[in-house]
Symmetry: C2
Subunit: 501 residues, 2 copies
Amino acid sequence: MLGMIWVRACSALVGFRAPTCVRSLHSFPGITVAQIDEEVAKLLELKAQLGDDGKTQFVLKTPKGTRDYNPKQMAIREKVFNTIIRCFKRHGAETIDTPVFELKETLTGKYGEDSKLIYDLKDQGGELLSLRYDLTVPFARYLAMNKITNIKRYHIAKVYRRDNPAMTRGRYREFYQCDFDIAGQYDAMIPDAECLKIVHEILNELDLGDFRIKVNDRRILDGMFAVCGVPDDKFRTICSTVDKLDKMSWEDVKKEMVNEKGLSEEAADQIGEYVSMQGGMDLAERLLQDHKMSQSKQACAGLSDIKLLFKYLQLFHVTDKVVFDLSLARGLDYYTGVIYEAVLTQASAVSAANEAQNGANAEESVSVGSVAGGGRYDGLVGMFDPKGRRVPCVGVSIGIERIFSIMEQKAEASPEKVRTTEVQIMVASAQKNLLEERLQLISELWNAGIKAEVMYKKNPKLLSQLQYCEEAGIPLVAILGEQELKDGVVKLRVVATREEV
Amino acid sequence: MLGMIWVRACSALVGFRAPTCVRSLHSFPGITVAQIDEEVAKLLELKAQLGDDGKTQFVLKTPKGTRDYNPKQMAIREKVFNTIIRCFKRHGAETIDTPVFELKETLTGKYGEDSKLIYDLKDQGGELLSLRYDLTVPFARYLAMNKITNIKRYHIAKVYRRDNPAMTRGRYREFYQCDFDIAGQYDAMIPDAECLKIVHEILNELDLGDFRIKVNDRRILDGMFAVCGVPDDKFRTICSTVDKLDKMSWEDVKKEMVNEKGLSEEAADQIGEYVSMQGGMDLAERLLQDHKMSQSKQACAGLSDIKLLFKYLQLFHVTDKVVFDLSLARGLDYYTGVIYEAVLTQASAVSAANEAQNGANAEESVSVGSVAGGGRYDGLVGMFDPKGRRVPCVGVSIGIERIFSIMEQKAEASPEKVRTTEVQIMVASAQKNLLEERLQLISELWNAGIKAEVMYKKNPKLLSQLQYCEEAGIPLVAILGEQELKDGVVKLRVVATREEV
């Protein structure tokens, strides 16, 4: 009997090969979502059982594309986070947190082609869920859901992408984003300028070497495409080809435009002229006079805003690092105005120094690249609002994983040891049978707010207690001895100098 | 043609009803895991399409059992975390982080019946993954994977359980755990005592009202079951019935033991006598002399350790809050020695005060309950080690969500406003056309490390700038005016008193 059912199931499994046409069968009587759920569960159970046979070996690892942080890495991470949070707080930002997963439909239609990189949760009954892909979409959902029209917030949390990253370059499937965003209807370019000031402050304070902040505007790009004769329906795809200019030569980019995307050679050449332009306020000025560019209203709006932005950036004294770069395009669909990206220009020096130290570990060095990026997205919140009410937003995301990698390399290259605890004093004993006295003393220290450790042994050797201090970088030891206890004193020893009081 | 295939698929779906017997069919030719995957994908796609018809409405919400944290909640959360982290650091703990998901097999066989509450990720090709259920199993995996035999670490992170929690009681499907654990082969009860000292310090500092820390030992429970005549194979199930004593009366617990679990009435009554016992070191002493209890070697080992534990707790001056309670059982399977749990004994007072304020919101009050728990688990790391090497561990987990709920209620009941930013000064203007001057001044303040805000308007009204300060609790305003600029000074105003300098 069972065999027969199985044969029927299998023949169906083999025969059932037309999922795309299924829509026309909605009215088929007797099949419900619940039934499908049940059958799916059974099949997966069967699969799990089949799978068991194959591999009996237990693999001790973290999932692909993820990693643990050990205490040393955490100490570096904490330092970086503190610098960034201090800056966000200095600029008056509040912070929020959102769940690690969202309803699947919340993420649908926000990431274009990259949607295939979203992690879905298994359908275990109930809602269909996905892990968050960035912090911007949950932020927009939060604003729409709570009808918030004005907020300046930061959010530091992990996001998830089923990418195939080169992990040695500091890219992972689980990674942190540090986002700062300003939502609200304000006068042009004031919050935008503050975002760039923040990037400038953070990269300066983290001391990662020299950097450049490239600035452009989606309206300038679109206007440029229009006046160069790119058909409307090709704006987006040509834009993502332009985005590759930081990794590909202009020749290859042009080839992609002409051969793959079907653009005319003439249009491509015109684009090529523009995207090679870099400058400051003067370039914006010049392009506003440009015979062709000035034909596009959109481009002119963008160029005027770039001028205004540079004016504010001058007041903030950050124009030394900012460059108006017409080749900057940014991947994400939702940007509507100013866009920017910060790149380290000296990271190669760090890598090179590190490679020299570590030998031929060339692949493991951190590649120079974008460490911050963002822009204006005035339409995203409206996508969530039932009435489509817009909340203009501008924000920046600090690419913290690359920064970690660089800081880790720097720490490794440095002779200084990274401490993973903040312990100030070790309570030790010079003789046996002083456990109770040690516990009593350390309890007093803890109650006084002093960071202190004691060895969890009844009779530890003095030498091993001192060795522990040296390894952990604990600066002081309180040494208990019979004589000192009689005298009612404690001997205090500075580990580094062996000085005793 | 399509219709025919569909009929075959459906008849199979209806007919295929014997998953439990499927194991015998492993050798069925022509069905592979890949094929099952493919068919499952098709069925789920079909389901998604069926589902689309039902609901066209987009739902703006967070997933069931989860919540956003708004800036006010985050401010409270930060305060609580800082208190806890300060304590963990005072005790010399390092910190680590692990991925939010683990290989599914890492979690398999660790949580007993609760395994059904684990969130699985969808099989999108590649590894089978699950969201972490607690921080203890990832910690054990980390130790085994990195061959670490000694560490004192804390880990604060979110964990995931597909529970059906009463959310008004501060329970969620996504919630924080704050874990402190000591791994290593040490002399008995020294690290265990430190864990209890930590709970004592944290609950004191958080000022949540009076509390009790109940202590017991799995070996005492097992010994007790043995001498009361519980069959070996029923230890675990009887143990989980005893665990319900904090929610059920002894009568009901006894009923479950006898009627559902098939224990003899006599054995149940004997257990009943023991589990009503509470005390301190004296009770451990007495039970060591107990005619029946002393027959169990295991129980005696546990009782001796409880005595030793109390000795150390006396040195730490925390015995006022600690009680040896034979009814404490703890749910998790992996405990092997001392176990403990802290409960608030005054939380009802907070709730009552809050209810009085908010009217009849009785359901929304926070229930009294466990706010910390933990114990010794000497076998868990060995489950991950290929050679089964044991790393003894003891730890404690602070139940932070309940603490948040209480703190939130306290904050709401308090007349003091929770500030969500730390801004010290607002740069304002008394007249029009002073945007540039405001931006210049705030840039100087930021560069000097001062937390400052400016309104993102060209010409904001002075009144609206002052109102913003009052709402956000910003203590100072720097007011720019034509006259002051000429004189080269800035007027500084204290918002609360309107004093000006």
